[in-house]
Symmetry: C2
Subunit: 224 residues, 2 copies
């Protein structure tokens, strides 16, 4: 089992692992492929593995008091659900594939052993957790304070800049999911998107989106 040793998508933490450790990781690591819509792990199920997304797009979501809430969109390569695996016995949220996704299931004990024996690995995980939390704080405050068009604009910029690195892309979410991510009703998402289209800020046709006036979109994202 040398899959991890020669893996070209190792995490920044795993780059600190030695050959022996990578071999050990390879032995306890299972690679699985998920299709769009497949659930990778489910809220309230026992959390028994650390998930590493080698490739693909995943939504992290949890059942809120009123409706489903998408907490974030994660893009491989990235760890998924370290907090929910190390912080509780049971998953506090679900992860669902938005595209075809390559995932490694890492045995939690092996992961703990690395933290124990390799302090560079541990430190990298800590920094990772910290950065995630900061990102989440910012996202949360934006969600809470901006109004709908601002949240939609911000999310479009997020997809363009962080996920697809292009101003033309296919939205990997339904209007309903886009609402769950931005805290809007399905109808309101439609309305805001077609308003943006009418104003010439973006061009939409179904799920395909093209950003025409990025400055204006950025302005809307900031101011309302």
């Amino acid at each position: 089992m040398e899959i991890c040793k020669f893996c070209n998508k190792r995490s920044s933490a795993a780059r600190h692992l030695g050959n022996d450790e990578l071999e050990k990781l390879g032995h306890s690591c299972v690679e699985v492929s998920f299709e769009k819509g497949d659930i990778i792990f489910k809220q309230n199920a026992l959390s028994s593995n650390i998930i590493y997304v080698r490739e693909g797009l995943v939504k992290i979501h949890m059942a809120g008091p009123e409706r489903e809430q998408i907490l974030k969109i994660a893009k491989g390569p990235t760890y998924l659900g370290i907090p929910t695996t190390l912080g509780d016995k049971v998953n506090n949220y679900s992860a669902t594939a938005l595209t075809t996704t390559e995932v490694c299931f890492i045995d939690i004990q092996v992961f703990k052993d690395f933290i124990d024996s390799n302090s560079d690995f541990a430190y990298e995980i800590i920094v990772n957790l910290c950065k995630n939390e900061l990102g989440h704080f910012h996202r949360c405050v934006n969600q809470l304070q901006k109004q709908s068009p601002g949240r939609v604009a911000e999310t479009l910029l997020f997809f363009a800049d962080e996920i697809f690195e292009s101003d033309i892309f296919d939205l990997p979410l339904s209007r309903h999911e886009f609402g769950d991510l931005t805290g809007n009703s399905r109808e309101n998402v439609s309305r805001i998107l077609s308003d943006l289209d009418k104003e010439g800020v973006i061009k939409i046709s179904g799920k395909s989106i093209q950003i025409l006036d990025k400055d204006k979109l950025f302005f809307i994202s900031k101011n309302g």
Copy 2:
């Protein structure tokens, strides 16, 4: 310098430190007292220390796009701002004392050294970060989806159960701050609190609050 060696409020992580390490911690650790309203650290300032709150109540807050947002209320003993210190060069949020607060400033390099040399300490920090993040997810979703009375009720229960462990307490926040915490306008906080008073769920007089009907308050917290 043996203040840490004989400290009776050590963190769960620091309990894994040996005598040598505690002595080293004592040498690099500065104890400071803050009064109500004092800023412990400030958003956008250089983050150079890990903060450990030995005793007291602190608000964590950041400037949002529209107004100030209180992210959480922290009660000593607890670490503060590990994410903002290890995750970025600059503080992503501020911390302000709500009561008289005893704080230890821990040199970041010493903290890193402990992560490096003591894997139990590191693991404890990791679990801590994970649990914090889970708590924050839940808080965020509740804030986003519940409507105003539900958020106010939830926050009152939080103060009663988590902070004061009593159904009679003095609110350590102004109505304005309570709004910044629950995402309401100052006026709306007043209205909701006096409604709850009129319905006999709580009894208010200024900042002092008594919960009279906890079941009903819980119901309101859950259902709107």
